[in-house]
Structures are given as structure tokens and as C-alpha cells.
């Protein structure tokens, strides 16, 4: 009789035990699969929310006085507009979502507004993503809440002797953006008489997963090789918030998973120990029939591994179903990113039987080292 046939026959006979073992192993697959599938979305959601805090890097001309930058809201000095394009050709950078900006204070309806010309974002080839900011058509203007001065969408306005159409008046943000008047970069260059230049490149710092790395030093070193005429300024509070939030999201899953797996391993070990105890006479008789330790070990480890395969299949199916069904309610922003991760099925089918066998090993060793004579001498009524 083959080992597998014997394992299946025993598993069916002690179906309650088998069901409990299966449940523990399915949980060991289900929870990591559900966590990982929706956890990926959680991390993406966190990334998206953190990204929405805005650009946290400013690349300014090296000559710019930072005190004046904060006082005026724009930098003195200029950078060539082409400088931003250099990032798109570079690889493995800690910069992304690069936005060329030309900003200068101008008078509009008797008030000082910050005229801000922008163009489409640039990204390194390997990091192209959706834009973080709205696009502006040439000839149009988007007015900040405080800068609007009574203008409404559709109005034709005069600014620095140029006519522009108000595309939108932005809602109140409570930041300096309320005093901005957004135009296309080419319009700003024309209005300000500064062709082919910008005075700021805004960017988003790529997430640095390496704990203990001085990312600002890395940013500066990278900038030196791409835009040597620039200096980088980082909004530290924003950067720290981003990093902390992302690490918290990752640490949560990293902390939870070992406990879940340890609990499942404990249940598997306990159930196998009970199984060994129930089968003491069987172990004795198998020894009497000439079977060695390999067969005895195979009965217990094989059962754990066999049910581990079943648990992996069902755990993957249920875990994925939970993630796909309930994940979008929890992570609405990135719901579309919660998909069936077939890669996890392969991992589960290989790893779970191994996990089950390792968990069942201590009681299996007790079965191997059990003295069959002890059992066979115990003759009941």
C-alpha cells in the first residue's frame, strides 16, 4: 500500500482532525495572501496620499538667496528650461514628477500676485507616472482663490499687457497657492520677457527604503551630475511625514504576519501531536510489520504537507476573494490595483507544505522515537 494512499485513507477517517489541520493551514495561506494583495493596495494608497501632499523638493539656481526665496515666493536667478529635460534621460534617480516653473511677482488688479508658469511634468524614463498637477493650455490662466480679485472662469483678463482667458478660479487652499496665477510656461516666459529659462524646478523625492541613508546627500550628489548650476531644497517636514507613513504601513504587515504564522504553526504542531498520540498503536504495529522511521515520518510529515497543498489552494482562493471583494471598500483610491496575484499561488503551493511539514516535525520526531514495545505491551480489556 502506498504511503499516499495510507495518508489519504487516514485523513478521511479522522476527518475532524483533518478539517482542523486544513483550517489552520488554509489560514496560514489565506491571511498572508489577503494581506499581501490588499496590503499592496494599502501601500499604494499611502503612496498616493503622501504624493498628494505635493512636491517636496525645490531645485533652485545655485545663486538664489534662500531668504529672498521664502520672502518673495520665487527664486532670484534662472536655470535653462532645458535643464529639466536632462532628468528624463537619467536613470536610477531619487527624483520624480519634475515640474519646470518660472515664477515672478506681478501686479493684477492692484494686488501683487505670484505669476507662475508651468509646463507638463518630466520624469526619468523608468519612473513615468501620471501627473500630480493639472495641465494648463497656452493662452489661459488659472487663478488662485485670493488672486482672482473678482475674476471668474471665462473672463478675458489683461496681465502685463497680455490678454488671457480665465480657465478656472481655484478653491481656497490656505497656502501660498491662493495668491498664484497659473499660466503655461511659454506664456510666463513671454509675459516676463524671460525666454528659455525657469527659476525653479519642483520635484517629488522618490521613496528611499534604505533605513539610515542620508537621502538629502544622495539628492544633492545626483543633482550635481545632472544640473550642476542648481541647488536642491527639501521640505523636511513633508519628507519625514511621507517616509514615516510609508514605513508604518510596511511595518504593520511585517509585524502582523510572523504572529499569524507562528499561531498557525502552533496549531499544526498541536494537532499533529494529538494525531501521534491517537496513533501510538498504529506506529507500534507498523514497526512490528517491518516499517522503519522513514515510513512513520512520512505518515505525519506527508499528511501535513498533503493538507498544506490543499490549504494553499483554498487559502489562496479565499484570501484573494477577500482582498478583491473587501479591499476596494478599505482602499478606494487604489481599488483598481487590487488584482489576483497568481505569483502568490505558486509561492503558497511550494511554501505552505514546507511550512506544514516543519511545524509537524517535533511531534513527528516523538513518533519516530516512540518505543513500539511500550505500546504493544499495553493490552487493554
Amino acid at each position: 500500500m502506498s504511503l499516499l494512499s495510507q495518508i489519504i485513507a487516514e485523513a478521511m477517517h479522522r476527518w475532524v482532525h483533518t478539517l482542523l489541520l486544513f483550517g489552520a493551514l488554509a489560514c496560514a495561506a489565506l491571511l498572508p495572501v489577503a494581506f499581501h494583495s490588499s496590503g499592496g493596495a494599502a501601500q499604494r494608497e499611502t503612496t498616493r496620499l503622501m504624493r498628494d501632499l505635493g512636491y517636496n523638493l525645490r531645485i533652485l539656481p545655485k545663486t538664489a538667496d534662500l531668504s529672498a526665496y521664502w520672502a518673495q515666493g520665487h527664486a532670484d536667478g534662472t536655470l535653462p528650461e532645458a535643464a529639466v529635460q536632462r532628468f528624463s534621460k537619467a536613470d536610477d534617480l531619487s527624483y520624480n514628477h519634475l515640474l519646470a516653473v518660472l515664477a515672478e511677482r506681478v501686479e493684477f488688479r492692484g494686488a501683487s500676485v505670484l505669476l507662475t508658469g508651468i509646463t507638463a511634468e518630466v520624469a526619468p524614463e523608468t519612473k513615468k507616472k501620471g501627473s500630480m498637477i493639472f495641465e494648463i493650455e497656452p493662452g489661459t490662466i488659472h487663478l488662485g482663490y485670493a488672486a482672482a480679485r473678482g475674476a471668474v472662469a471665462g473672463d478675458e483678463i489683461e496681465l502685463a499687457e497680455h490678454s488671457l482667458t480665465v480657465a478656472a478660479v481655484l478653491s481656497e487652499s490656505g497656502t501660498i497657492d491662493d495668491s498664484r496665477a497659473w499660466v503655461h510656461l511659454s506664456d510666463a516666459q513671454k509675459l516676463l520677457g524671460m525666454p528659455g529659462v525657469v527659476n525653479e524646478i519642483q520635484a517629488l523625492e522618490c521613496y528611499c527604503a534604505d533605513v539610515g541613508v542620508d537621502n538629502l546627500a544622495r539628492l544633492r550628489a545626483e543633482l550635481e551630475s545632472i544640473v550642476p548650476e542648481g541647488q536642491v531644497l527639501r521640505m523636511d517636514a513633508m519628507a519625514e511625514t511621507r517616509e514615516k507613513q510609508r514605513r508604518m504601513s510596511e511595518d504593520y504587515f511585517a509585524m502582523l504576519l510572523p504572529w499569524v504564522l507562528a499561531a498557525c504553526a502552533g496549531v499544526v504542531a498541536l494537532l499533529t501531536a494529538i494525531n501521534v498520540r491517537e496513533r501510538r498503536a498504529e506506529i507500534g504495529i507498523l514497526r512490528a510489520l517491518g516499517h522503519g522511521s522513514g515510513r512513520i515520518a512520512g505518515l505525519f510529515l506527508g499528511k501535513a504537507a498533503f493538507i498544506g497543498i490543499d490549504g494553499a489552494l483554498v487559502g489562496f482562493a479565499v484570501g484573494t476573494w477577500l482582498a478583491v471583494t473587501y479591499g476596494p471598500e478599505v482602499f478606494p483610491e487604489t481599488a483598481g490595483k487590487i488584482v489576483i496575484e497568481w505569483r502568490l499561488l505558486g509561492i503558497a503551493v511550494v511554501a505552505l507544505p514546507l511550512f506544514a511539514a516543519i511545524s509537524a516535525l517535533p511531534p513527528t520526531l516523538s513518533a519516530i522515537f516512540q518505543d513500539p514495545a511500550d505500546t504493544l505491551r499495553e493490552e487493554g480489556p
Binding site: Q6, E10, I285, A288, G292, A373, E379, G380
Partner: protein, 219 residues
């Protein structure tokens, strides 16, 4: 056939050591059916297990055929046990989740798959259990279970059968059937050592030995 020399065994306990075999010698020939009698706790089961390579005695040798059982490695001893020894127990010790036929097939054997099936069917037919072959032990009577256990012991055509109270849980008719089978096996050249409390099996035995104070005495 089997030769036990100066077998001693002491059960070690936390409180006290129990010396149950005290240097006994035993020799059984092929074709011999020998009864082993003694009071409860006299060491009958211990002796059977020691003779079958299941319990290393504290000292002494067990020579089965040409093998010095306890000089072999545990793997070699297990193989020797599979080839040469069949065990029958009072409590049958059938595997509860296997059918009668599967309980025979679970024995370690060097036969091919087809031969094993044929051997199992042949044995079950010889004890009148062909129609019970697919039944699990729980569905069999005590007599039927013991017949299955006996078939399992004989599966590899062993040279020695060690039977520990094989009729202890059986009604007289069933006990008679089992004893007939053992006698038939001995008549065919097998060796049987049967531990028993009952006097009934003695009538089928060529000789009876009494285990008293750790050593064997003729009746």
C-alpha cells in the same frame, strides 16, 4: 530456527527496576508450535517482543535464522522482522482506517504490487473472509478481526509467528478457528510461539513452557 541465549531484561522505572527475564535460553525448531504460559506480569509479552526484534533485551542474544537480531542496525533489524517474523496480538492492532484487505497490504513486503494483491486475496479466502475484504475493522467481529490479523502476520510467509494471547478476546468457536490456522501454519513448517493464559491452546501445542521468575520451565 530461533535461538535465544541468556536473555535478561529489566524494566527501568522512576521508582524501582523490575527484572522480568533473568538469563533465559530458548530454542524453537521449524514446524514447532510452542505454548508459553505464565501469570500476568511474568514477562511473556516482553519475551515475545524481544524474540521478534522489537525490544532490545538488557543482555543476551537472539539468533533468528542466520541473523543475530540485536547485532543488526535498526534498519536491518526492521527488514529482518518484515521477512521472518509475524506478530499476532490479543487486541488485534488492526489499523482502523484501512479495510481488511488494506490491513494486509500495509505490511512491508518485497513482493510486486500485483503479487501483493493476489497474496492478500489468497489469505483472506483461506480464512473465509473474501466477502469482508473491503470492510473496516469496526465492521468486523472480534473473531474476524483476529483472522485478519493472523493473515497479516502470515503475509510475508514468515518463518516465525509470535502470538500474544491470540485467543484472549475471542469466543470459543472463533478461538478454535484461530488455533486451527496457527496449527496449520506450523504443520506447514512454520514456527509458532504462543503466549496464553488459557489451557485450550495447549492441546494443539507440541510443548508448553512456563515462564516463572524470569526463566522458562517445561510444564
Amino acid at each position: 530456527m530461533i535461538h535465544a541465549q541468556k536473555i535478561e531484561h529489566t524494566w527501568r522505572d522512576a521508582n524501582a527496576d523490575v527484572r522480568c527475564l533473568t538469563g533465559l535460553d530458548l530454542e524453537l525448531e521449524a514446524g514447532e508450535l510452542c505454548c508459553l504460559r505464565g501469570v500476568s506480569g511474568s514477562g511473556k509479552t516482553t519475551l515475545l517482543l524481544a524474540l521478534g526484534g522489537m525490544l532490545r533485551p538488557t543482555s543476551g542474544r537472539v539468533i533468528l535464522g542466520e541473523d543475530d537480531l540485536y547485532a543488526l542496525s535498526s534498519g536491518e533489524r526492521a527488514r529482518a522482522r518484515a521477512r521472518h517474523v509475524g506478530f499476532v496480538f490479543q487486541m488485534f492492532h488492526l489499523i482502523p482506517y484501512l479495510t481488511a484487505r488494506e490491513n494486509l497490504l500495509v505490511a512491508r513486503s518485497e513482493l510486486g504490487r500485483g503479487e501483493r494483491g493476489a497474496r492478500a486475496d489468497e489469505l483472506l479466502a483461506s480464512v473465509g473472509l473474501t466477502d469482508r475484504a473491503d470492510h473496516r475493522p469496526a465492521a468486523l467481529s472480534a473473531g474476524e478481526r483476529q483472522r485478519v490479523a493472523l493473515c497479516r502476520a502470515l503475509f510475508n510467509r514468515p518463518s516465525l509467528v509470535l502470538a500474544d494471547e491470540p485467543t484472549g478476546n475471542l469466543d470459543p468457536d472463533s478461538a478454535g478457528v484461530v488455533l486451527d490456522l496457527l496449527a496449520e501454519y506450523a504443520a506447514d513448517g512454520g514456527t509458532v510461539l504462543m503466549a496464553t493464559h488459557s489451557e485450550t491452546p495447549e492441546s494443539r501445542a507440541g510443548r508448553t513452557l512456563w515462564l516463572r521468575d524470569g526463566s522458562l520451565h517445561p510444564s
